[in-house]
């Protein structure tokens, strides 16, 4: 049986992967099995199909249904030459430069086959965790230096220990899969391409902290990931993987702020997704007032790999206080967009120019927004910034969840600053005044600047307002919206000098 691999990741579906799979099914003939996988993360090459050969898998892309007859005639099924032939995906420069730990299996395995998962090293982390016992696992996770991949970067081992040490009749694990930051899609790709890694991480976490119930809170904008996870949970439950800690999938309802952990807990409890004041921390009083671990998808999905490789091997990667790897997401106007997992410590410019190949439009890169809609805009002058949590913060930037959105020289940065305020106004939960009112006022002030009305005075007012938001908001929505706004003002002042 010859096996052909066609991704069913939503980024491949969005550019016609289903039509390609259908054409292959109709034309490839008997004896060819089509396996639907996740994505390798070379999004510009999607739909990227692969054929299994004695030399390994050989990839072709981007493939359209119209290419299928020509590909088959050229000898696709034996990996023969063709203008769309990429060769072995792992030899492609974009892949060869990566260190794939969290995404080791993504794009390779059938996401819904637990056998395939096992064959590629899946469940080895859980086996090790069971042998180690909870205390050793916490010590390993702590020693690995793993920090929350959702953006806040809190040390995972410390969070787990806090919940493990808390005395309670019932504890919860909540996976934050509300990946609302624009320009980010790593959680989505992992859930669609390797969902069992997330489930395994949650089961290990449950074992360690003594929780018997877990929730995955996923955003409604991810219909394909929801479908995959629902199916994966059925498979995992049927095979006894969830016997000690059952996991339930919950779908959000279009609120960005529910990605903030306390708003997420409120939402799970069936309330308006409004932020809670901290303390108490969710680790002490979380879901339904019980001790709760709230972790991002990537954080949980990386734990099994850490246990397999050992904390020391993981901590050996990275730089400063940012240990291990981060799956960066190259997005927007970039030539080679997709997912690039690498140890912390690369320079921003290296990632944009050498890995990403500059802009897709071929025009000069003017601005780069890292860390989602609340992250700063960086000009080329700051491309020597090292990608780790502290180095970005030192330059008033945000690494966040690792999203990097590239803009060419046609971008109007005053308009981007206005959008940041508009977005904040739209998504503010309304609980604290600086965010609820300040974002609307911010929009109005920028509108005046855009009209050239008392520009200097209004820029001073905008800065004052941003300081109020930064210091007075309850959570990161109002607290961080000054990053995109003030970075645009600081690094691109000419865009605000309107007549």
């Amino acid at each position: 049986m010859i096996r052909l691999f066609v991704p069913k990741d939503v980024s491949a579906l969005a550019v016609g992967a289903d039509c390609v799979a259908k054409a292959l099914h109709q034309q490839a003939g008997e004896g060819v099995q089509i396996v639907r996988t996740g994505s390798r993360g070379m999004t510009w090459l999607e739909p990227l199909i692969e054929i299994e050969t004695p030399e390994g898998r050989i990839a072709y892309g981007p493939v359209t249904p119209a290419d299928v007859p020509g590909l088959l005639a050229a000898g696709l099924l034996s990996g023969a030459d063709h203008p769309l032939r990429i060769g072995r995906p792992e030899d492609h420069p974009f892949m060869a430069r990566q260190t794939r730990l969290t995404f080791a299996r993504c794009g390779i395995v059938d996401p819904l086959s637990l056998d395939d998962y096992r064959a590629h090293g899946g469940l080895e982390g859980l086996t090790k965790a069971l042998a180690m016992g909870p205390e050793v696992v916490v010590a390993e996770v702590t020693a690995s230096g793993l920090r929350g991949r959702g953006g806040a970067g809190f040390p995972t081992g410390i969070k787990w220990k806090t919940v493990a040490d808390a005395a309670a009749d019932c504890k919860y694990i909540v996976c934050n899969a509300d990946e609302g930051d624009s320009g980010t899609f790593a959680d989505r790709m992992l859930m669609e391409g390797d969902p069992f890694a997330l489930l395994e991480g949650m089961v290990i976490c449950g074992l360690v902290v003594g929780a018997r119930k877990g929730f995955i809170y996923i955003r409604s904008e991810y219909p394909r990931a929801i479908e995959v996870l629902e199916h994966a949970l059925v498979v995992a439950r049927a095979q006894g993987l969830l016997a000690d800690c059952d996991i339930e999938l919950r779908v959000g309802a279009g609120s960005y702020v529910c990605g903030e952990e306390t708003a997420l807990l409120e939402s799970l409890e069936g309330k308006r997704g409004q932020v809670r004041a901290k303390p108490p921390l969710p680790a002490h009083k979380g879901l339904f007032g019980r001790p709760t671990v709230v972790n991002n998808v990537l954080t949980l999905a990386t734990v099994p790999e850490i246990l397999v490789r050992g904390a020391e091997a993981y901590a050996a990667l990275g730089c400063g206080r940012s240990r291990g790897t981060l799956p960066f997401q190259l997005a927007g106007n970039i030539r080679f967009g997709g997912l690039f997992e690498a140890p912390f410590g690369m320079a921003l410019g290296e990632l944009i120019d050498q890995v990403g190949g500059g802009t897709a439009t071929g025009r000069p890169v003017r601005a780069v927004q890292t860390g989602g809609p609340l992250g700063a805009y960086f000009p080329r002058e700051l491309f020597d910034t090292v990608l780790d949590y502290e180095a970005l913060a030192a330059r008033d930037g945000l690494l966040g969840h690792g999203g990097i959105v590239v803009f060419d020289d046609t971008v109007d940065m005053a308009r981007q600053a206005r959008f940041a305020m508009e977005f904040c106004a739209m998504e503010s939960c309304g609980k604290c005044t600086p965010c609820r009112v300040g974002s609307v006022r911010g929009m109005e002030v920028i509108d005046k600047i855009l009209k050239g009305h008392e520009v200097a005075a209004n820029l001073a007012l905008l800065e004052d307002l941003c300081n109020t938001l930064k210091l007075g908001s309850l959570c990161a929505l109002g607290g961080f919206v000054p990053y995109p706004v003030m970075s645009a003002v600081r690094h691109f002042p000419q865009d605000f000098q309107r007549q």
């Binding site: 939503v10 980024s11 624009s182 119930k213 919950r250 106007n333």
Partner: protein, 163 residues
Amino acid sequence: MASKTTNLVADWDPNRAAEIINAHLGLEGPALPILHGLQAAFGCVPSEAISMVAKALNRSRAEIHGVVTFYHDFRDAPAGKTVVKLCRAEACQAVGGREAASFLLASLRIGWGQTTPDGAVTVEAVYCLGLCAAAPAALVNGQPHGRLDGMSLIEAVAEDTQP
């Protein structure tokens, strides 16, 4: 994933609503699953349902109304036959998302969040579909579309609205 011919919604039926509510009462924190269930059945969360949910959950009507109106997903009236969820976030902006959106809205002669007078198409803003490396992107009745421009976006919508 939503199949191509979704949005076939039922008329208001209190018995059906009660069934949906009761089916979720065993869950921890059942409010959102109930509201999603109601919307899947009726195309919106009908105002008649709010007092039923409140009663079943032992919460006030005002509180449930507050929950329903907090979340962008929940509607108070059914949407058009084809729902276009079009991304307005930064990665899509960087590659012509604003222009593609303006082109579609102008051709349909509606604004964000509105439905064409014949009830055929609703265009809603979303902020990121996770298709940021294949931008601009949209979901047309649940089907993903990437690398869009004004023309291909209109084609995707037209394909879905054809009988």
